[in-house]
């Protein structure tokens, strides 16, 4: 899990350097944290032989974070809705939902093997708190 802290810290610095407000920095940092945790925990299933690849990029228009794992793949459409009454009191299953809530855009791409998740925070917009 050491990689989670490293990527999270880099994401926070990138958001800070881009001039985001504190609450936006928190949202970006948390979304990246959740994405890397998912990659390590659910993607690579803690397999020490599998790697996480993270690319953090700042353009004039957005912050872009790409996190890749080497797992068996993720089907985001099959993830249960954590807001559904039957899932509300579950102890797990909120990670992807939170990522989507905290970022402006979230995209998934299947790799061979693994999953790439792309998180985008537009620099000219502020997503209001849900």
């Amino acid at each position: 899990m050491e990689s989670v802290g490293r990527v999270e810290a880099a994401a926070e610095q990138l958001a800070r350097d881009a001039g985001l407000k504190e609450d936006e920095i928190f949202r970006v940092t948390m979304a990246v944290h959740e994405a890397v945790v998912n990659a390590v925990l659910h993607g690579n299933a803690y397999d020490p032989d599998k790697r996480i690849h993270a690319v953090l990029e700042r353009t004039t228009e957005a912050l872009i974070f790409k996190i890749c794992d080497q797992g068996n793949g993720l089907k985001p459409q099959e993830i249960p809705d954590p807001l559904a009454a039957e899932n509300l009191l579950r102890g797990t299953g909120r990670g992807i939902f939170l990522i989507r809530s905290l970022m402006d855009e979230v995209n998934f791409r299947q790799l061979e093997p693994g999953t790439e998740i792309t998180l985008i925070k537009h620099l000219n917009s502020t997503k209001p708190a849900a």
Binding site: V37, L83, L89, R90, F97, L98, S101, A129
Partner: protein, 115 residues
Amino acid sequence: MSLKLSSRVVDGVSILDLSGRITLGEGSVQLREAIRDLGSKGVKSILLNLGDVNYIDSSGIGELVSAFTSIKNQGGELKLLNLNKKIYDLLQITKLYTVFDVKEDEATAIASFPK
């Protein structure tokens, strides 16, 4: 900073003062063990003071939910105290604000537990 946790009892209510992070591998397990310990002692009234928790992730949120349901299933009550804006927003996003009984001051929280 990982999670720091201390406990005290006021008017029959067990208060856990938490500070630091409640995340996967950094606090979630400590919180789970503290709740399990209180539950095993038959404690029915638990107040989690989150005033100094500066970071929580989905795993930490899940741990709060598990603590809530665990104590409820034992016939007790678990309430939250002193949410900062970050945690408040996360509980709103996840609709858990409607699940937890959230209090803003300790005296009111303690008085709200059954005697």
